[in-house]
């Protein structure tokens, strides 16, 4: 019975929950293991001991020269002898039937299981110690069993519980066990990484064993006062202590969310009948993409395999186009992209998280940010990487290097001195000397940042200090030495030339004030420097100055735009109260025609193009930014295929991430955008989103804006 039930569970739940598709393999295995463990401890350890007492079996032991302790230990040993073979059997069967990967750390898994068995046996034994009869022990066991089954993540994922129940779940020992099993089976984590589980189980065992030995009764007619039953609550003390700590730092709940994400990303998906834009210029007219374990497992030219043979969730995509997830290489997440109706509700973290959710909603699976609050950016990047939050992957290019009082410092310029000193390190780096610049680059490398951005801009008609050449040179040399990609923000063709001299990896903006000479574009092509024209920000400023709300009326913008932002921005576009702001913006030296001409020249010169938008500036609202940029490029004369390659493969190359993303090739991370129609024929189709796949997870886009 000890072996049959768990195996039946495994097979039945396996069938019911489509475990063979991958996503639920680990949770079902964990569920079966924990149910077996609970049964072993509570029924085998608890109820069995009460029965032994009622049948005068313990009475026989009593006359022998032994104390209760060896009997309690023997019960635990029995639990281990029964459970450990069951564990191995379940894992082997799950491997054979459902392709569960072999545990990376068998020893850790076995030790964790042993700790779990012993802990639940100890809980069972304390129940036996406080129960006066078999019936009573049954009731007490159910009182312990059911919450552990329902609230620990054993049967229902904790992520589905309301937050107050999530908090309650942190007080149950089983919760820690579930998290640790999931982490070991899903991520191959070691025992040490799961120290909260080890701690809770060890302390629960110790507390319960000591109490069980104290309250141990040999004879059925020795009854215990009803009040002594309260000592059962003592088993919760370790979980209460750990739970209190966890609730304080939120570690376990975050880990649970992250593990849950890991399971969703483990699903096997087959996208069939689609046009596939590989990313590097090639197109498969009718093909299929198989996604497994978070990665692209196979790309088929033609109909692809029968889904039944693969045990996969099928996405029928005839008439649709599969693209690599789009990438925006220049965003400012902390800026909303317009005017908020109620500015006092603004909070940087919420704004940045919402922006990243809006990107993913729109099929933009990665973004690069430079000027956002630094520590916050690193924290959000980690939360998304670990799957605790869902949003576009964030590449952090650190606080940009600029001159004191230069471009990038305008947001803090008017703050009082003490506040500016606090905030400035979050937003910019202002090295006074070449030596300081090197130190600051090295510091950012250890953060670690994904790249370095430097600003070379004298402001044109609205002059600002520009970084000294020797300081700039130090920044670029140190970045190259540290192996960090270097992006250089430029204001005019002189800045572009200097950036090229320094060996920049990308030119951000280029110039909106003058034409970049053909020679510079030739150098870009030669040096494989990427050109990021960010036409969107030029259009946004132009429209804002003109009071043109057309960009707010795009469907995806209306879907993702926070109502407060859309309302406030509409007002700012029409209200006389904002007339002076609009007039001020009109005086910015941003020539849309020059920007487009420079882009076309770059294209003609064979420069590697990438799509950035400078989102967060007026009317460039976080969400379908790349789609608008692509439309502007195509309208300017760039072929759609070239534009799409810039938004996918080239952008990934610029981020030094082309081995992970940016094209649809076997082995890459499954960041995919499925759109209705053919954006190669009509670039607007890039906004007709049918589905978004992120790291293998078929994203439920409706839930993106409802993350706790």
């Amino acid at each position: 019975m000890n072996y049959v039930f768990p195996l039946i569970f495994l097979v039945v739940f396996g069938m019911l929950m489509h475990v063979e598709r991958g996503g639920l393999t680990v949770p079902v295995v964990t569920m079966v293991l924990v149910i077996a463990m609970l049964g072993n401890g509570l029924f085998g350890g608890g109820i069995r001991t009460v029965q032994d007492r009622e049948q005068n079996i313990l009475r026989r032991f009593r006359v022998a020269p032994i104390s209760p302790a060896p009997l309690l230990v023997a019960s635990m040993a029995t639990g281990l002898i029964l459970f450990l073979p069951a564990l191995v059997l379940i894992v082997v069967l799950a491997h054979i039937l459902y392709g569960l990967p072999w545990p990376a750390q068998w020893a850790s898994l076995l030790i964790l299981s042993a700790l779990g068995v012993v802990a639940f046996r100890a809980i069972g034994l304390i129940i036996a110690s406080v129960a006066n009869s078999s019936q009573e022990s049954q009731i007490l066991v159910q009182l312990v069993y059911l919450p552990m089954l329902l609230l620990s993540g054993t049967t229902l994922s904790i992520t589905m519980l309301p937050s107050w129940l999530q908090a309650v779940s942190q007080l149950l020992p089983a919760t820690y066990l579930v998290i640790a099993f999931d982490a070991m089976l899903l991520r191959g984590e070691s025992l040490a990484r799961n120290w909260p589980a080890v701690g809770v189980l060890v302390f629960t065992t110790a507390a319960a064993t000591i109490l069980a030995a104290q309250l141990f009764r040999w004879e059925k007619d020795e009854k215990l006062r009803p009040s002594a039953k309260l000592s059962l609550a003592a088993i919760l003390i370790p979980s209460l202590i750990f739970g209190g700590y966890q609730l304080h730092n939120n570690g376990q709940i975050a880990k649970t969310k992250s593990l849950h994400r890991g399971m969703l990303r483990n699903q096997t998906l087959l996208i069939r009948g689609a046009r596939i834009f590989i990313g590097d210029g090639r197109v498969i007219e009718i093909g299929a993409v198989l996604v497994r374990g978070g990665r692209i497992a196979e790309v088929y030219d033609g109909a692809g395999p029968e889904p039944k043979t693969l045990s996969a969730e099928v996405i029928e995509a005839s008439g649709k186009t599969v693209l690599p997830g789009l990438i925006d290489v220049q965003v400012n997440l902390a800026s909303p992209g317009g005017v908020l109706a109620t500015p006092r509700r603004y909070a940087p973290r919420g704004q940045m998280e919402r922006a990243l959710a809006a990107y993913l909603y729109s099929g933009i699976t990665a973004v690069r940010s430079a000027g956002d609050p630094f520590r916050l950016s690193l924290a959000i990047r980690a939360a998304i990487a670990q799957g605790q939050r869902l949003g576009a992957e964030l590449f952090v290019y650190g606080p940009p290097f600029t001159a004191p009082g230069g471009h990038g410092t305008e947001y803090t310029a008017n703050l009082p001195e003490f506040q500016r000193r606090q905030i400035e390190p979050e937003l910019v780096r202002l090295p006074a000397t070449a030596e300081q610049a090197r130190v600051q680059v090295d510091e950012l490398q250890t953060a670690p940042v994904d790249g370095i951005e430097a600003i070379l801009d004298s402001g044109g008609a609205r002059p600002v200090p520009r970084m000294d050449s020797d300081v700039f040179e130090a920044v670029t040399q140190e970045a190259h030495k540290d192996g960090l990609p270097l992006a250089v923000h430029t204001g005019d063709s002189r800045d572009v030339a200097e950036a090229l001299d320094a060996g920049a990896d990308s030119i951000e903006h280029g110039s909106y004030r003058d034409a970049i000479p053909a020679e510079s574009f030739a150098r870009m092509a030669r040096q494989r420097t990427a050109y990021d024209p960010t036409l969107s920000v030029v259009e946004g400023y132009r429209d804002f100055a003109e009071g043109n709300a057309a960009l707010l009326e795009r469907s995806l913008v209306e879907q993702v735009g926070p109502p407060d932002l859309l309302k406030g921005t509409r007002l700012a576009l029409s209200s006389p109260r904002f007339a002076s702001l609009r007039a001020g913006i009109k005086s910015y030296p941003l020539d849309f025609d020059l920007a487009k001409r420079n882009l076309i020249e770059a294209y003609r010169a064979g420069v590697m193009l990438v799509t950035g938008t400078d989102a967060g500036n007026f009317l460039v609202i976080h969400g379908p930014t790349v789609q608008r940029e692509l439309e502007l490029w195509v309208a300017a004369g760039i072929p759609p295929a070239v534009a799409l390659e810039a938004a996918t493969y080239n952008a990934a190359r610029l981020l030094h991430a082309d081995r992970r993303m940016g094209s649809i090739r076997k082995g890459l991370e499954a960041d995919l955008l499925i759109v209705d129609g053919n954006p190669l024929a009509d670039i607007a189709a890039a906004g007709n989103i049918s589905a978004v796949i992120f790291k293998g997870e078929h994203v439920d886009r409706t839930l993106l804006f409802h993350q706790e």
């Binding site: 009475r59 026989r60 020269p65 032994i66």
Partner: protein, 309 residues
Amino acid sequence: MTDSGGNAVTVHGLWKDYGDFEAVKGIDFAVRTGEIFGLLGPNGAGKTTIVEILEGLRSRTEGEVSVLGFDPEGQKDRLKDRIGVALQATNLPDKITVREAIGVFGSFYSHTVDTARLLQRLDLWDKRSQYYGRLSGGQQQRLALALALVNDPKLLFLDEPTTGLDPQARLEVHSLIEELRAEGRTVLLTTHYIEEAEKLCDRVAIIDEGRIVALGAPAEIRARTVGASVIEIRCEQPLEGEPPADNAEKIFVSEDGKELTVTAAHPARVLVEIVKWIDRQGVELADVRIKRPTLEDVFLELTGKSLRE
């Protein structure tokens, strides 16, 4: 192993209260090394409490107790290691085999006997691989005795060793207990079977309501308390004249003269004289019965109650 007086157990002024209820009210007795000592009394008399105090399972309220030289309260573990105990109404898990049970319980003691010999002796060798749950009642009781003997104890406590057994099994247990005495072991048994006490015990203590009402060899107690036996004689023809009454306490002749009832402290001597007298009259004997007083009668005499109530 024993105290200075050659006693395996000595008890002085033993009291035990359970809250308001006094279960044992000042008891003194000693169990001599090598004897079978019985505690006889009705259910609820306090036998089990006394035995459990001696076995180290229960604390006492007052008094001095020494078992094999140990104080059962302070030296519980050392005492338990040396004694053998068969409690009434204990069980073993159904799925333990005979041999496993011996192995498990043997592991608790510092000294053990050879398992094969122990099982052969208790006639359990053939059942050594049988599950406990599939043994007969007699076999289970023999296994209980085997477990009590697993540490080769010099002193055994047998609590109601034959309760619930059929006559055949009871006889087997009786002969085993006698063997234990022959081996020089001391046995303290409790029973409410009078025949068992009379048959097995060298000495008994009769317990009632927490007190010892009589203590000594069964015959001695009988003699001391009830004394006389009753001789019943039935003849084929009526008797005539006065029977010889020198050694008799009471003589009663029935109306038809055919039945004679004689009460005498020494029935053997009286019987010979009366039979000779009947024979002289030429009357034929139809039946002769001697009713010795039992411990039941002793108990009735001492407490005014029946043991079997």
